[in-house]
């Protein structure tokens, strides 16, 4: 993936979630990702899927970080890509909800197995798959909650993680 994957924002940087509505045409994701890598912007996560079959539109959600000037640049640069309908700064433009889903695999036995189940319960994580020596948990929530869950699983035999990256939407009745 393009862009450097930053762990967290530096002091003068703000973490921002940007939603981009695009024509679902070949190369559009490459344009967005290429823009980030070419201009040295951060991508913390990026998700994309078609959201309107009839209109052939996809929605890209990008979690990024940068100084306020850089964030404005990112939005302006995205805005001038030809197949982009709309760029929305969910962090700045008002309240929004954000979610991420992770599949977390732990391999363990005995006490660790019991403990991982107990923590999964606290995080409302579901076990999607189990063997006598492993679990695959599905956990949904804000990025920080998932980070916390993974951190707790680490000493309990964490072997594999797959995360979706953030998806987000503005609160209230208005469309993007």
């Amino acid at each position: 993936m393009g862009g450097t994957v930053a762990v967290s924002a530096k002091p003068d940087e703000i973490e921002t979630i940007i939603a981009v509505l695009v024509d679902n045409e070949p190369g559009v994701l490459a344009r967005v990702v290429g823009l980030f890598s070419g201009r040295g912007y951060n991508i913390e996560s990026l998700t994309v899927a078609e959201v309107s079959d009839a209109k052939h539109q996809s929605r890209i959600t990008i979690a990024t970080s940068g100084t306020p000037m850089i964030i404005d640049q990112i939005k302006a640069q995205l805005g001038r890509l030809v197949p982009i309908h709309k760029v929305s700064d969910l962090t700045k433009d008002g309240p929004h909800v954000e979610r991420e889903l992770a599949l977390v695999k732990v391999a363990n036995k005995d006490d660790k197995r019991v403990e991982s189940l107990r923590i999964a319960d606290i995080f409302r994580a579901r076990a999607l798959d189990t063997t006598t020596e492993s679990f695959v948990f599905e956990v949904v929530g804000a990025t920080k909650k998932i980070d916390a869950f993974i951190d707790l699983m680490r000493p309990l035999g964490l072997v594999d993680v797959s995360r979706t990256g953030v998806v987000a939407i503005a609160r209230g009745k208005e469309a993007m």
Binding site: D23, G27, A30, G34, M69, A76, Q77, R80, V82, P83
Partner: protein, 588 residues
């Protein structure tokens, strides 16, 4: 439903004709043979055969820059496309409207590493404004028309259409261009009126104003240049231009303070530094303009007119951004300015001009021409004097380096679209093919490529194009046997260690001109210069004039890299005062 069906190649030609294209620049190859076949069977579009695809793109740039129209390029797949990349990047950086059609291997072979296949849309995505891969002939008419719309509207730029050979041969319907509202691409041309009002208020309250205009004025069209002139005269403010903006305001006007930036005039850069209100019109605060950013015009309120929202606040934070087309915004600005009936403080303005005149009195562009050795500045100065006031229009293209800066400083442009230079990308080898495009667009004009002996060799093969079409292009080489700008930086920054910047075994340019079928001339002494220039102008054929100039001359004044506007060097005697900082060294 259209009655008659056409193959993809015919659709391309029909769309070009309907878009008002009368000439294209290109080079054939396997993947574009069907298009060349269609070209052969019609008379509406003329094709200029270059000698390398890179030349085709620069020629189209020269054509576009000198006419305000879209330049069109046709090249083959693989190496044809990759050779076009430099020109496309050049056009992107300088906002030149181009449509480049590349051939592609047939759709069923895409991705198979076929002969002369490359991922053209992938390679050119970051160096075009937009690009298309057309996989269905039904999409072709729309894509063709859309490409022209995207290339010429908003901030202009290059658009590429990759056309697989089978699509170029498939039958389909043709639809003529319609007034389309693009689904997503709708650049804003009208500026926000309340922002323009704020700007006018700032201008009317200014005591030490400056108007700093760039290539955006020229891209906006003749009307924008006229309106800029109106605004400058109405306000009585000083006006400076960027390298790309030269000609947007007449150089002979007394309110013109010269070009600004790294090799701009002392008065322009000091005025930028000391001003209290800056009006930036269609320029982008590029690093050659600003010098050290944290010391850039520290005490001014800044107004920025630009059609591209991403240019605003990119390098320099501004107080009043106005997103819109220069001509539209200036029109509104002048209207509001007139309606307000507030005049700027005349006394303050008079003082400001007094200060500017003091800076002017430094005569930062002066040079000493003594003895037999031709000073490069003197050569440009004479070229300007001897071409000035002639009935025939003069168009100047340049390569990149010292000669380019001397041309910008000493050739004075009174009108827009007369000056074609590679500003953003700095592409050596630009000037000769660009001159081809200019001369094709203006067959009766005097077209001169002011060149260096190093740059000219980068696309010298286009002399063959020039001779094929009997273009009377003049190549005016300031020959110092060095890559002059590289040598200058090595002298200033690297202890005079001239690593690989001297050229041994240069060709005999007089014989070279003759070999291509042109006329060669040479001046080695000051006394020969005027005669050579006059002879060159009078010659009905293409000419290479080899002007052997002072090898050690450097371009001054200069803002050393990493320095501020008010730290500029006036000449060689100035340079010892301040060594270039570590941070400055890493800048290009």
């Amino acid at each position: 439903m259209a009655e008659k069906q056409y193959n993809g190649s015919e659709i391309v030609i029909k769309a070009l004709a309907d878009q008002g294209v009368d000439v294209i620049f290109g080079y054939p190859g396997g993947a574009v043979l069907p298009i060349y076949d269609a070209l052969h069977q019609q008379n509406s579009v003329r094709h200029i055969l270059v000698r390398q695809e890179g030349g085709a793109v620069h020629a189209a740039e020269g054509y576009a820059r000198s006419t305000g129209k879209v330049g069109v390029v046709l090249v083959t797949s693989g190496p044809g496309a990759t050779n076009a990349v430099t020109g496309l990047t050049d056009a992107l950086m300088d906002s030149i409207p181009l449509v480049c059609i590349t051939g592609q291997v047939p759709t069923h072979l895409i991705g198979n590493d076929a002969f002369q296949e490359c991922d053209t849309t992938g390679i050119t995505r970051p160096c075009t404004k937009h690009n298309y891969l057309v996989k269905d002939v039904a999409d072709l008419p729309r894509v063709m028309h859309e490409a022209f719309h995207v290339a010429r509207s908003g901030r202009p730029g290059p658009v590429l259409i990759d056309l697989p050979k089978d699509v170029a041969m498939a039958m389909g319907d043709y639809t003529p261009p319609a007034k389309i509202k693009h689904r997503t691409y709708q650049p804003k041309v009208k500026g926000d009126l309340s922002a323009i009002k704020d700007a006018v208020e700032l201008l009317q309250g200014a005591k030490k104003p400056i108007i700093y205009a760039g290539g955006g004025v020229i891209n906006s069209g003749d009307k924008a240049s006229k309106l800029l002139g109106d605004l400058v005269h109405m306000t009585g403010f000083p006006c400076t231009l960027t390298l790309m903006g030269l000609g947007a305001f007449p150089a002979d006007d007394k309110q013109f303070v010269g070009m600004l930036g790294m090799h701009g005039t002392y008065e322009a850069n000091w005025a930028m530094h000391d001003c209290d209100v800056m009006l930036c019109v269609g320029a982008r605060f590029d690093d050659r303009i600003t010098g050290r950013l944290d010391a850039f015009s520290p005490n001014s309120k800044k107004i920025h007119i630009d059609i591209d929202a991403s240019s605003i606040n990119k390098n320099v934070p501004v107080d009043v951004p106005i997103i819109g087309d220069v001509a539209h915004v200036l029109e509104d600005m002048i209207k509001i300015y007139k309606s307000k009936q507030v005049k700027p403080d005349a006394k303050a303005l008079a003082n400001w001009w007094k200060q500017i005149d003091q800076w002017r009195s430094k005569k930062s562009l002066s040079f000493v021409q003594a003895g037999d050795t031709i000073k490069p500045q003197h050569a440009i100065e004479r070229l300007y004097q001897l071409t000035k006031g002639r009935k025939q229009e003069t168009y100047i293209t340049t390569e990149v380096g010292q000669h380019q800066m001397w041309a910008a400083q000493h050739f004075h442009f009174q009108k827009p679209n007369r000056w074609m230079t590679s500003g953003g990308l700095g592409t050596m080898g630009y000037g000769l093919p660009a001159a081809v495009g200019v001369q094709i667009a203006h067959p009766d004009a005097l077209v001169i490529d002011i060149a260096g002996e190093a740059s000219i060799l980068m696309n010298i093969q286009e002399m063959s194009t020039i001779c094929q079409y009997r273009l009377p292009v003049k190549v005016f080489i300031l020959n110092n046997q060095y890559m002059g700008m590289v040598r200058q930086w090595q002298e200033l920054l690297h202890g005079g260690r001239y690593s690989e910047s001297y050229m041994d075994s240069l060709p005999d340019f007089v014989k070279l001109a003759e070999a291509f079928g042109g006329v060669g001339m040479r001046a080695t002494k000051t006394s020969e210069l005027d005669d050579v220039i006059k002879e060159m102008i009078a010659c009905p054929k293409s000419v290479i004039a080899d002007i052997c100039v002072d090898q050690k001359e450097n371009v001054f004044p200069m803002i050393p890299s990493g320095a501020a506007h008010n730290e500029m060097l006036l000449g060689p005697e100035d340079k010892a005062a301040k060594p270039v900082s570590e941070e400055g060294m890493v800048l290009v």
